[in-house]
Symmetry: C2
Subunit: 470 residues, 2 copies
């Protein structure tokens, strides 16, 4: 601690002095510093500016500052150090954040199957640092100025290349838009669609529930359409009156179904006939374990499909990097909406990710992660089969989650409660049903767990179930 | 080029094959690759996967892939290289973005006084790299997972320390919220205020014009209040019926006025009496050249003032880093709004900036930049005085812009047009008047220019003016 996290920026210590007032200057200075320390605004161990520098900056004689410091040392607010500098005393300052953090960290589950955290311990720190070093060494100055609403050229080129190669998309760099993850991208898209006259969004039932509020806030109705084993029920979609539909075609969330070639064709035909739009949320398609992933629907109908991708599942959610491939007519309104929203995404992250993708580091990371996640998934399914053979896992071997149907004698609420009593977090399917309820099941996220945790977790669950079954 | 920007991710080349179809597999593979090259989806110089790897991944015999590659080499789509690898041929691929970039780069002004670009050539790349290296070496894995809506603890602590020390604020880390620049922060704030019953936003007249649309989109009326030499006309504010006001108290944009102590006190009294809120946009207060900057109003009334800061003027707009200090009651709704908006700001940038601030690099950068900007400003004002003595600069010696009133014989439109004919960008005051028009003037942004450009720019302007005056 001590010197390293502090700062002796002379004169930056802002104390406003009244030179024509009745209170001596050294007392005003003392009072100002004392008050800041009391309020915790100057924290423990902060190195104070030198008396010379502070005197200089405040236009005071050095003696005034020396006197103020001496008084505060005498009062215990400051400590005079042998190196010739003065620090805020340890006991004098508050550390409210640390206290708060302590009280908040009580009682999360010991093993947590909550969905949506990839294995962030595998974040490729060294390769990322190499990329950012190259960017900081090589990128022109103007990259640091305000941005194009679509994002950095370099990243749009790199991602278009990558997606066309790996996901079978038909992307041109100029039709791509970089956003802060799927959350921002989908919100802006629904806002732009609502403003262009779209009215009703069809979503998969069951599906991730967060988009419904976003659609409502944008002024769109939303309607749930059943998901079959081959993907969305397109006949129900056609009857729904929707003019835009969101699908997770490569790997449905949460059921794990893959949209069949016939259903894809039917979706595209529906969109063409109704002059409608398809949003393809390709959130985890890079992680298919049993075969090459099915190519994106966007490649079939680039003018009817908005493709949405994200680094949140493949690399880390904390990067907040997402991307859209847009039909040409949506590029300008989306770029304008992005500028209004936040003036564009942070440039260093974009350029770093561009370098990371263009040099093949992204492919390398995916190649490294696939067998790890596959082992976790295989272990989870195998252990479930051994310990809870009447739990029925569904969906293809892919992604970072597995869904199971619950046997009829068990309820989600009883299971999740009994699990939590054993320090285990498991999560029910109910929040994903568009109508608020439906058949009961569990969704296991395993991306952030170790093999040992997966095995122990299923053992704990088996314990919990046998207690429920008496 | 060649190998470095390409990728030989074997098997990532997605070609869907029909094993039961009438077309031989090598022809299907050829056709798939050929089509991707034709459409520009596989770009020039892309390194193809090795035949072994591709065969392996597609479940084909190697001979099938060799046959397909040979055919495409014969047709000129691929090139076989001496290192034993195969690349997409240079002539075969499109480069649409490069073409587009060429046509777009016609005719910007040679010297541009457009406001709002700091000197990005001075971005402290080496210090930033040191900070990000430390972050990547030291930060715990979980930092890469999803975030707190308020932002990373480390950055909130570092910024609270910095702002309390340098800007005289009264900030606790837990009341801070990190956002993607002022654009996002102010938008979220106005949305949250509108949702909590606020109705009418008072803004300075003249002022930055972008906030009015944001306020309207959030459902708030906005009303302009005249700016006097001592800051906002508080009597007019009291008559306006506003329940929230946005001020640039330390350095009004664009007039450069500084809000006096009396006006600050009157604003705080107004807010207390009306149960109203003050938003303090402290966009460039670190750059005061004639004295220490006036402390932030937030320190006077932390419960009535939302403080907004940004790295866009002090470091670089491309970072998209901004921060708010919030009255306690606004912290939870704002954090929730941030999560809905984009799930939180990118974590690596936050942690890097936290390290950068905590180690005093931010202070060092500001100390280095202040004399540079001061020289630019002094030169601009001096040159104006020599060449155009009847142009009247106003405002204090601060920031990255100067405003001047135009003499009555000149109009903004004539001046800006005559300047542009000489390759000079100058900008009128009209867009900043809340009513759409008002007294005529010019706003010079000088942050991104060199001394030579400033001098030449004023000379060109003097030329333009003398041509107008005959």
């Amino acid at each position: 601690m001590s010197r390293s996290r502090t700062n002796s920026g002379a004169g930056e210590l802002l104390v406003e002095l009244r030179r024509d007032g009745p209170v001596p200057l050294h007392q005003q200075l003392e009072g100002g510093i004392r008050e800041r320390i009391r309020q915790g605004l100057l924290r423990s161990d902060t190195v104070m500016p030198s008396t010379r520098a502070l005197a200089n900056d405040l236009g005071l004689s050095r003696g005034v500052v020396v006197e103020a410091y001496q008084q505060l040392v005498a009062e215990g607010y400051l400590v005079s150090r042998t190196g010739g500098y003065t620090q805020v005393a340890p006991a004098a300052a508050r550390t409210p954040l640390a206290d708060e953090a302590r009280t908040q960290s009580t009682g999360p589950p010991k093993i947590d199957f909550k969905y949506s955290r990839p294995d962030v311990s595998q974040f490729p720190r060294a390769a990322w640092l190499r990329s950012i070093r190259r960017v900081l060494n090589e990128t022109p100055h103007l990259s640091f100025a305000y941005l194009d609403g679509r994002g950095a050229d370099e990243l749009r080129v790199a991602l278009a290349d990558y997606l066309n190669r790996v996901r079978g998309t038909s992307a041109r760099a100029e039709d791509m838009l970089i956003c802060n993850g799927f959350a921002q991208g989908s919100r802006l898209l629904l806002q732009v669609l609502a403003a262009s006259g779209f009215r009703r969004l069809a979503i998969e039932d069951p599906s991730d529930n967060e988009l419904r509020d976003v659609a409502a806030a944008a002024g769109l109705e939303s309607v749930g359409i059943p998901v079959l084993e081959s993907g969305l029920d397109v006949e129900a979609l056609a009857r729904s009156g929707a003019d835009v539909v969101l699908v997770t075609a490569a790997h449905q969330f949460p059921t794990g179904a893959v949209t069949s070639a016939e259903t894809r064709a039917a979706l595209v035909a529906w969109a063409a006939e109704r002059d409608a739009l398809i949003i393809e949320d390709d959130y985890d398609a890079e992680y298919r374990y049993d075969r090459e992933p099915i190519g994106a629907m966007q490649g079939l109908a680039p003018d009817r499909v908005v493709y949405a991708g994200t680094a949140s599942k493949t690399l880390a959610p904390g990067l907040r990097l997402g991307w859209l491939i847009l039909p040409g007519r949506l590029v300008e309104p989306m770029a304008a909406a992005k500028i209004v929203d936040d003036r564009g995404s942070a440039v260093l992250d974009q350029l770093t990710f561009a370098d990371f993708v263009a040099r093949g580091e992204f492919d390398r990371h995916l190649r490294r992660m696939r067998p790890r996640y596959r082992r976790l998934r295989d272990l989870l399914v195998e252990r479930l089969g051994e310990r809870l053979p009447d739990f029925e896992p569904i969906g293809v071997s892919a992604g970072l989650h597995v869904m199971v149907w619950l046997p009829p004698d068990l309820s989600e609420s009883a299971v999740t409660r009994a699990a939590l009593e054993r320090g285990l977090g498991v999560y029910g399917l109910q929040p994903y049903w568009v109508g608020g309820s439906g058949p009961e099941g569990l969704v296991f996220g395993y991306g952030g767990l170790t093999e040992r945790e997966v095995a122990e977790g299923i053992d704990l669950l088996a314990d919990a179930i046998s207690s429920l079954r008496g």
